[in-house]
Amino acid sequence: MNGKDKFMFRSIIFFLANIFLALFLVNSSYYIFAQMTPYTGQPIPGINPAAQWAGFPGEPVAGNYQPVKINAPEGTQIAFAVQNRFVERVKSPYLVGLLLGANYRLRITDIKLHPGKELFPSVTILQRTYPPRGKELEYPIQIDLTQEDLELALSGRFVTRVIYLENPQNALPIRGDLGQQPTTEARAGEDPLQIAYNLGKPVAVIQLGGRAPASSGYVEPFFFHGSPPLIQLKK
C-alpha cells in the first residue's frame, strides 16, 4: 500500500468514524428528549425519578413534608433509614412526614409467616395533598402493603405500587374503609404510573423487591438514597 492509498484508507476510516459518532450524538440527544416526555414512566436513568416528576412546570416543588401512613400486615415492623442506617423499628401502621420528591429507603421485618426475612422498599412522594388547615395528620397519604405484596417481593419479584387519589367523578362505588386499598393491576407492558394518571392523581410510589444490602455488614451509602430527613409523627 503506497502512501496515497494509506492516506485514502485513513480518510475513509476517519470519515466513517465521524459519521458514526455524529449519528450517536444526535440519536442520544433525541433519546434523552424522548425520555423526558412527562409521565411516560421512563425517567432518565441516573437521575432521581421523583425529582423529574416533581420538577415539571406547575408542580409543587420539593420542600413540603407530607404526612404519609404506611400500612403493612399486622405485626410487621417498619424502620426508615436515617444517616445511612436503619433506626428505630415501628410497628405498622407508621405515620411519618416525608419530603416531597425525595427517595426514602425503609426496612420491613417481622413479616408474617416469614420470620427472619427482610425487605427494603423505596418510597417516593410525588404530590402533596391539600386538606383543610389542621387536618393534615388526619388525612395522610395512605400506602397499603398487603401480605401478597411482601411475599411476592420475597419470592424475587419486583412489586411497584403507585398510590393515587381517586377522581371523585369516576370513583368506584365501593367501600373504602373495608378491606384493603382499592387496587388495580397493571398488566405486562403497561405503565402503572400512566394508569394511575388516568384514574386520578398519583401521589406516591413504593417499590419493593430486587434490592438487598450486602450481607457483609457494610452497606453502600447510595443504598439509602442519601437518607433524606423525615418527621416521625407516630410510633
Partner: protein
C-alpha cells in the same frame, strides 16, 4: 479529495455535536427543578369566626366618620390576621346604607361560595401589574379632583386614616385601586374620577380590596335576583339602592377582565398549562348545577326541565329544584355547592420478575445410515439445550374499571317519607335554616368547604351576578347593619325559589355518615307549585335507606342515575305560598 471528505466529516461532526448539546441541554434543563417560588409554600390565611365577623364591607359613600369607624375595625382585624385588608364595596348609594359602626358582610346564601381566602393575590396583583396596586404605602394623599392616573399603580385614591380602603365614587367598573399598607394621609372627602372607566349611568356594586403585602380577603357579592323594597326586610319603601348593571354576567365581566382574573385570582399556586392537577380530587363536590356556572362549571347550559318535567343536563353531583309558577312556567333553581374534604387513596400495582426458563429444544434422534461404496457411517444428532429468558412476566389480566354496586337496585322506588317538622337538631345551621339569618357561624360553615377547595383552585375573582328575578332578602346582624338593594324596576318576575344545601360534616373519611339538609324558600309574591327537589349523588355517596325526611308533605323517589349511584327526588305535594319554606333531609355514607 479524501482530504476534503475528511474535512467535511469533521464539519458534520461539529454540527451534530452542536445539535446534541442544544437538544440534550434543553432536555436536561427541563429535568432540573423549577425555581422555588417563595410564595408557593406560604400558608393560606384562615380566619376564625370572630375575625371574619369583624370584616366589614365598606361603602364609598359612607361619611368619613363611618369610614373611620370601619377603619378602626379594619385595623383591629389587620392586627389579628396580619394585615388583611377588608373589602370595599364601591358605588353603594349611601341612602341605602344605614348608619352603623357594626359593619358586617351581608351575604346571601348564594354568595357564600364566593367567599375565598385566596392567598397572596395582592402580591400577584403587584407581580402581574395588571392591577392598580399601591404597594408601598407611600402614596401622597390629598390628590386633586380628577387627577391623572399613572400606570404604576399610584392611582388616585381617597384615603382615610390608616388602612382605609380606597373610596370610589360614581361607579367605576374596572381596575379598583388598592390601598395596600395604610399610613396614608389623604383627603377623605375627595371624589376622584381619573382614567378609570366610569359607569355612573348604571351603578355597580362590587366588593373588593387587596392588600399588597399579605393575604387578601376576597368577597364576591353575587346577587342572584333583583329585589323590590317589599322583599327586603327593614327597608320597606326604599327604592334607592345598588343598581346592578344588567349587562353584567355572573363572572363579573365588566368589573374585572379575564386577564385580571387569570392572573390575580388563582390562589397560591396553580399547575402549569400542560401538566398538573387541581386538588379537587380530594374534595367531594355536592350541590349546585355543574353546568351553568353556578356550581363551578364552565358551561352555559344547566339543568333543564320541560313542561312534562323531563329533566336534562342533570349531572352527577347536581342539586336542583324545579317548580311551576302561577303563569304556567317551569323554572329550575340550583342550590349552592358543597365541597367536602374526603380523599380516597387507591393503588395501581405491577408485579415484575424475570423468570429463567429452561427451554429444551430436542431434535429427533436421527439414525441415518449412509451407505457408500466404501463403507457406512452412522451419525447421531446431539441434544441441544438452550436457555431462554422470558421477555416479560406473566401478566395478570384482571378486569379494570369493574364497578361493584354496593347498594340498591336500578329501580325507581317510591318510598315513604318520615314527617320532619322539627329541625331543631340541625344546630350547625340553625339560624340559616330557621330564620334565614346568616350569622357568622353559618357563613363560616357554609363557606368553608368552598373555601378550602377554592384556596387551591383558580378563577375566583370578584363576581357579580345579576339576574332578572324577583327580590332577594338580605340579612343583617346586630342592628340595622348594611343593606344591599337591587333595583328591579325592569324585573317583573314574582316567582322565585331559593335552595340552600348544607352538610353536617366538612371533612369525611370512608364510612362516615353525612347528613344533608336542604331548605327551600318561596321568595316571590306568588305561590309555587309542584316543587321537586332533586339530588344526583356522586358514586362516593351512598344513600342510607329510610333516612329521607321532610318538613312538608312530599313524596320521595330513589332511582338509579346510570353511573352506579342514585338520584333522590323529593316531590313536594302542596304548593308553597309566598314567604313559606320547607326543609328536606337525608343521610349518605361516604364510600
Amino acid at each position: 479529495m479524501w482530504f476534503q471528505i475528511g474535512r467535511l466529516s469533521c464539519a458534520v461532526l461539529i454540527f451534530c455535536a452542536v445539535l446534541s448539546v442544544l437538544f440534550g441541554g434543553s432536555c436536561l434543563q427541563q429535568s432540573s427543578l423549577n425555581p422555588v417560588d417563595p410564595f408557593a409554600l406560604n400558608p393560606v390565611l384562615q380566619l376564625d369566626n370572630q375575625q371574619v365577623e369583624r370584616l366589614p364591607v365598606q361603602n364609598s359613600n359612607q361619611n368619613p366618620s363611618q369610614v373611620a369607624a370601619i377603619s378602626q375595625v379594619n385595623n383591629q382585624v389587620n392586627n389579628q390576621v396580619n394585615n388583611v385588608v377588608p373589602v370595599l364595596a364601591n358605588n353603594v348609594n349611601k341612602n341605602n346604607i344605614a348608619n352603623t359602626t357594626e359593619n358586617r358582610s351581608i351575604l346571601h346564601a348564594r354568595e357564600i361560595r364566593q367567599v375565598t381566602f385566596a392567598g397572596d393575590m395582592a402580591r400577584d396583583n403587584y407581580r402581574y401589574n395588571n392591577y392598580p396596586v399601591n404597594s408601598s404605602g407611600n402614596s401622597s394623599g390629598n390628590p386633586a379632583a380628577n387627577p391623572t392616573v399613572n400606570s404604576s399603580g399610584n392611582f388616585p385614591v381617597n384615603y382615610q386614616n390608616n388602612n382605609v380602603p380606597v373610596n370610589y365614587q360614581n361607579g367605576y367598573q374596572n381596575n379598583l385601586p388598592v390601598n395596600s399598607s395604610g399610613n396614608f394621609s389623604g383627603n377623605s372627602s375627595e371624589n376622584y374620577s381619573g382614567n378609570l372607566r366610569n359607569n355612573s349611568s348604571s351603578e355597580l356594586s362590587s366588593t373588593y380590596l387587596g392588600n399588597s403585602n399579605r393575604d387578601v380577603l376576597q368577597v364576591s357579592l353575587q346577587t342572584s335576583r333583583g329585589a323590590d323594597a317589599s322583599g327586603v326586610s327593614g327597608v320597606s319603601g326604599d327604592n334607592s339602592g345598588i343598581k346592578i348593571d344588567p349587562a353584567l354576567n355572573d363572572v363579573g365581566a365588566g368589573v374585572l377582565n379575564a386577564g385580571v382574573l387569570n392572573n390575580e385570582f388563582n390562589g397560591v399556586w396553580r399547575p402549569g398549562a400542560n401538566f398538573g392537577f387541581w386538588p379537587n380530587a380530594e374534595y367531594l363536590a355536592s350541590g349546585g348545577d355543574g353546568n351553568n356556572g353556578v356550581g363551578g362549571g364552565l358551561g352555559n347550559s344547566g339543568v333543564m326541565v320541560d313542561r312534562d318535567w323531563n329533566v336534562s343536563n342533570f349531572e352527577v353531583g347536581d342539586t336542583v329544584a324545579h317548580y311551576d309558577t302561577v303563569d304556567g312556567r317551569t323554572e329550575v333553581e340550583s342550590s349552592n355547592r358543597l365541597n367536602i374534604y374526603a380523599p380516597r387513596f387507591a393503588a395501581v400495582r405491577k408485579v415484575e420478575g424475570v423468570v429463567n426458563t429452561d427451554h429444551t429444544t430436542a431434535l429427533a434422534e436421527v439414525n441415518q445410515q449412509v451407505r457408500t461404496g466404501t463403507g457406512k457411517t452412522a451419525e447421531k444428532a446431539g441434544r441441544a439445550t438452550q436457555e431462554f429468558v422470558a421477555g416479560y412476566t406473566r401478566g395478570r389480566d384482571d378486569l379494570r374499571g369493574m364497578r361493584a354496586r354496593v347498594t340498591g337496585a336500578a329501580l325507581e322506588t317510591n318510598q315513604a317519607i318520615g314527617g320532619y317538622s322539627n329541625f331543631e337538631g340541625v344546630s350547625l345551621y340553625a339560624d340559616t335554616l330557621r330564620l334565614m339569618k346568616l350569622g357568622s357561624a353559618e357563613i363560616i360553615h357554609l363557606a368553608e368547604g368552598c373555601e378550602n377547595a377554592r384556596e387551591w383552585q383558580g378563577a375566583s375573582g370578584i363576581k357579580i351576578k345579576a339576574s332578572y328575578r324577583a327580590p332577594m332578602s338580605m340579612s343583617a346582624e346586630k342592628g340595622v347593619g348594611q343593606l344591599f338593594k337591587i333595583d328591579d324596576s325592569a324585573i317583573s318576575d314574582k316567582s322565585k325559589l331559593r335552595l340552600i344545601k348544607v352538610a353536617s360534616k366538612r371533612t369525611a373519611k370512608s364510612g362516615d355518615i353525612i347528613e344533608f339538609t336542604l331548605r327551600f324558600d318561596n321568595l316571590g309574591t306568588e305561590p309555587l307549585g309542584n316543587i321537586t327537589i332533586m339530588d344526583n349523588l356522586t358514586t362516593r355517596l351512598e344513600f342510607i335507606q329510610g333516612s329521607a325526611m321532610s318538613s312538608v308533605p312530599s313524596g320521595f323517589v330513589v332511582e338509579s342515575n346510570g353511573v352506579s349511584s342514585f338520584t333522590l327526588r323529593f316531590e313536594i305535594t302542596d304548593p308553597l305560598e309566598a314567604g313559606q319554606f320547607g326543609v328536606v333531609q337525608f343521610r349518605c355514607r361516604v364510600l
